[in-house]
Amino acid sequence: MATGTPQENLRHTMPAQDPKVRAHNFDEVALGYDLQTAQEEALRCIQCKRPLCVTGCPVQVRIPEFIRALREGDLWQAVEYLKDHNSLPAICGRVCPQETQCEAVCVLSRRGQPVAIGRLERFVADWEREQGVRVPEVAPSNGIRVAVIGSGPAGLTAAGDLAKKGYQVDILEALHESGGVLVYGIPEFRLPKAVVAAEINYLRSLGVTVRYNTVIGKLYSLSELLQEYQAVFLGTGAGLPIMMNIPGENLNGVYSANELLTRVNLMKAFDFPNWDTPVRVGERVAVVGAGNVAMDAARSSLRLGAKAVHIVYRRSRDEVPARAEEVEHAQEEGIIFDFLTNPIAVLGNEQGVVAGIRCIRMTLGEPDSSGRRSPVPMEGSEFDMPMDTVVMALGTRPNPLVFTEALGLQRSRQGTAVARSETGRTTLERVWAGGDIVTGAATVISAMGAGRVAANDIDAYFHGGSSGYWVQESESEPA
């Protein structure tokens, strides 16, 4: 047991760019441990016989094993343990909400801070990338062609696992770059695009092909793909922005977070006019919502030159859904948090451009279906805040395009694909789905996990014959 001085109960801090400096650049904020710090942090792990951290992980990464290998200095062994259950550790180490997963249940957190599992994961994965990723043994080709639709975390994982098993995998990507939300959504300062590119290169080395600019539902329907491929995995995520439906929402200067982030991350608008796509962000910015995407939008706005950036959130600090580290970083950079505040209208000037937002104060009532206390508007508390730009970061839904001419593929009322969580099988034979398209907007790690589950089940289907079955009709509407 860790019974030493309080010092021993604290995790090693991870170096980061100075907040004053980084608020003006798009370089990565967190700089990662060096080997010595990583090994010292690894020593804090007490190697529980029944490790709770593993149960806290959505994909049961072999956490104590990889940490042990790290502190023993056998880094390749650490990589192996880590990648046994997680195909994207460099990404998950950076974007997983560890404080609500593995680290939340670490026994050390009872008497101090938990082991910095996420930082160690990142360190091991970055170390591997620096060495040059070893291409694993790939099973001889079995000639079975699989289409993976979407190249986000779910698709990348399914593609990699299937390729290793000898399948001939084509990734069909709608955009001109691969990575899905990892490239259009998450900013460079949180997840460098070189990290994502390394994953794509790794897949290529396994023989995976990426077909870009291929919009399923438009260029090919799912039914057509089933003629060309023996199996299809749907990993198109949740890419459709949710708006508030309040007056003034179509004014110039109101963005969905997806639009702002796509302009900046995918189209490199921060480097306009060297890149052709512009983005216009004024001095005063209000970002509505408090998830990771809201933090990304707020911090991107700051880096684009905004002077005052507000997070406007209808609940209180306790309900903020973003990762703790993102909130901390945002606060350090000077993002202003307006809790228990909800916009009821966007105000415009004569030119049809945003001039402000009208908000109402909220108070917390009874817990709602999500278990969080539901916000209730306080009558007569309306007030205006002058703003130049408003960003709606209220979450996303699956894009319905992929369901075009996909007869037999059932959808829920929320627009998600109906699929079994243990197998990824949908209501349509030879079609699997996983990630946000099934769960609605969730985490990279759960999407990664769903991609892996589906890859295993696709393999079982082709080798086990008739043992599997597809989802029966349930409470859902036909696509």
Binding site: A174, L175, H176, Y184, Y212, N213, T214, V215, K218, L219, Y220, G239, L240, P241, M243, N245, E249, N250, N252, G253, Y255, S256, N258, E259, T262, R263, M267, K268, F272, P273, N274, W275, D276, T277, P278, R280, Q351, G352, V353, N399, P400, L401
Partner: protein
Amino acid sequence: VYRILSKVTLTPVTTEYVIEAPEIARKAQAGQFVIVRVHEHGERIPLTIADNDVEAGTITVVAQEIGASTRRMKELNVGDGMASFTGPLGRPTEMENYGTVVLVGGGLGIAAIHPICRALRQAGNHVIGIIGARSGDLLFWEDKMRLVTDELIVVTDDGSYARKALVTVPLKELIEARTISRVWGIGPAIMMKFVSLTTLPYGVKTIVSLNSVMVDGTGMCGACRVSVGGRTYFACVDGPEFDAHQVDWDLLFSRQRFYLAEEKRSAELFEQTRQQKAEQEDAR
């Protein structure tokens, strides 16, 4: 991939490109568009599919040299490729035999109504085309349009070619003289608004293709939001065609203008760079 197979200067400001894109050519329907990235640093710009040839595996687009991307596109030669070419996007035109229909194409809109005229004619409609431009030198595809229409009316604003009139004048005459089942109007937003105002008093259903600003073109960003009948739609996936009489035109004008300053800036930068290059080559 996405090689330019032919490039024809149609007017001082418009160019026709035939692009090798067999997958899109096979699937394209009238009313749809592609998103083009001319070079690696380029914007994703929407261009209407003006023609498609399944056998040759080609898509024809017509672009007007306004912004940096379309100017750069003009610099490309036959054999060069686009960085990306994505489609077919948007919903196709609703095809049926309506009876006698009128399609109004203004400027670049001539290219957009071309495949719709052809498809409507194949669906059994009597197709009347009205094409117009500010002046005769800005007019194109008159011969091509004759092949896909039963009657074609040509006008110019200044009378430098054919009849001197705005496109709405012959449109109004037609509606008053004959039974017109449906009208399409595609061109600059202001022209589409006036087509809409022309047909409104007669209650003739009118369809316009809204050219709002787009980024991904697949419903992901919502940059192309338009208001139709008091509801917000994404032009890229819900359109681009909408009922003209329900469109909030002021919102469309306003949203089209938001990035005007930036567009101007990058177009100027492009011209500067081009000039510098030309001077350097001259010096050699």
